[in-house]
Amino acid sequence: MGDAVSQSPAMTFDNDSAHWLVQARGVTKSFGDGATRIPVLKGVDLEVARGEVLLLVGPSGSGKTTLLSVIAGILESDEGDVRILGASIPDLSSSEKTRFRRDHLGFIFQQYHLLPTLTAVENAAVPLLIRGVPKQDALSRAEAMLGSMGMGERLNALPTRLSGGEQQRVAIARALVGDPKLLLCDEPTANLDGETGHRIVQQLHDIGKQPDRGVIIVTHDTRIFEFGDRIVHMEDGRVDQIQHGHKELR
């Protein structure tokens, strides 16, 4: 059955960081100023446990992607707090946020955003190269990661030579190669056919179920609801409904 909607304005954190990977409290965010000010997040509370796959769903403009950006620390919230692995993201400086993302987060984007002039294996190695890992070491680790995703034959293909599913797998390899604790995925199946999307989300689900990891997936795709441990439904900048397992969502 669905849980009660959590909308408490009080910023009380459960300090059990061994259990929670992400805790967000009272997160608000608006765009614009004065008369054109548009509130997008209106006091969102959210948690992601270790080993959990959480789906963020809702209509366009409900604030899903904005919430994902705030959690990732690439967008400043107006109010509220987000803690990941016990670290308060709003309290970090810009460079500390950058380092935090580099060391602990993995990203999968709807448009993949692979570098068009880099091969599949080079794209997958980018997070390691950013960390300063020597090129050969980074490439061999990226090669192993792509191999584990069935992309061993396509290592040297440029993104333009890859299908949508293959590009997405390269993007996943890029997100995972740095061994992040939290994976943030924005519409990972939006550009994929049903079968490929199903396979991709199955991989994400398997990753999220590993101990000490977590996955947040923003999606409109109802076909992948079965992979979520919890499904958070957002509406008009608020968490409208949180449900355990896909079968309970109507």
Binding site: T65, L68, S69, A72, I74, L75, S95, T98, R99, R101, R102, D103, L105, F107, F109, Q110, Q111, H113, L114, L115, P116, T117, L118, E122, V126, P127, L129, I130, R131, K135, R174, D186, E187, A190
Partner: protein, 377 residues
Amino acid sequence: MNYVALKMLFGDRAKYLMLLAGLTFSTMLIVQQGSIFWGLMTWSQSGITNVNAPVWVADSNINQVEEIKPLADTAVTVVRSVPGVEWALPLYKGVQRARLPNGNYEQIALVGIDSSTLIGRPYTVLEGKIEDLRSPEAVAIDQLGVERLGGPKNIHLGTTFEINDHRVRVVALIKTQKSFQNFPFVYTTYERALSVTPEERRKLSYVLASPVSGVSPEELARRIHEQTGMGAFTEEQFGWKTVRWILKNTGIGVNFGTTVLLGFIVGMAIAGQTFYLFTVENLPQFGALKAIGASTGMLARMILLQSFTVGCIGYGVGVGLATLFGLTAGSGGRLPFKETWPLLVGVAVALLLICSVSSAISIRKLAKLEPAIVFRG
């Protein structure tokens, strides 16, 4: 991330080639025009460099080497009396009219040097002996003179022609640096130069002098000026005085300066615009890199590496093409082309500036880039 930066640069072939073309063109234009300019300035000093004397003494109001203001014959003795002078000798220099065996006339730059020492003689003698200038009617003529006065078939050792109706005979073929006016150089002795030129009260063009050991040319020039009131300059000072006069009194400096500036602006415009477009078109990718954990500083270093890499390649190709032009079009001294290291350093600095400004525009864009754009469909 240097590897990623270079792959991004070389992978986008069209943009890379456009950037390279812009920077190469810019470099080539600046080096080529700068070399021709400096070649012209070198030609303008040839009246000095061909003679090779440490100190030149002239009228105190002289502006440049080709502007002859004759001195009194006693000037040589006066200079010799200045302490620190090892030797002081007369030099005649003037434009005269030569009549060729076929009846044509040609203007020549006549140089009369001291007959006993032959100081002021040309560096290179191609045929004959310069010492033969001491023989009757003897002159030495340079490669341009051979060409102008009828070519090697008509002008060779033993050929005679007239200077102001005085018969002279070629005893040596010499090599000289061309002059700004492009008149052939004809060398003879000082005494013969006086005898073949029209009567004037004063005919001594310059006094050449050399310091004794332990006195610098600068010091000697200063002493001569102070004690005689005449203008006295080292070879280098006189050369620069001539260059400054030409820059001030002709449009050459402005013309070449405008072209060089144009090359700089075109290079800046092409490189800046292409680099900016390159950055704008890759904004989502740069945004993704920022989101993944690349700092603005890291992205700035990537941009700078890309910019300076293509700048170095463009510099090399541009200098190579300009040099090739100089070797072909300027071979045999037909074109004033002098590629000097200060020019190449100057162009490198200009290119560095172009690359820095181009990069700065892109880096500014990246610094303002919100990585959140990567989550916008």
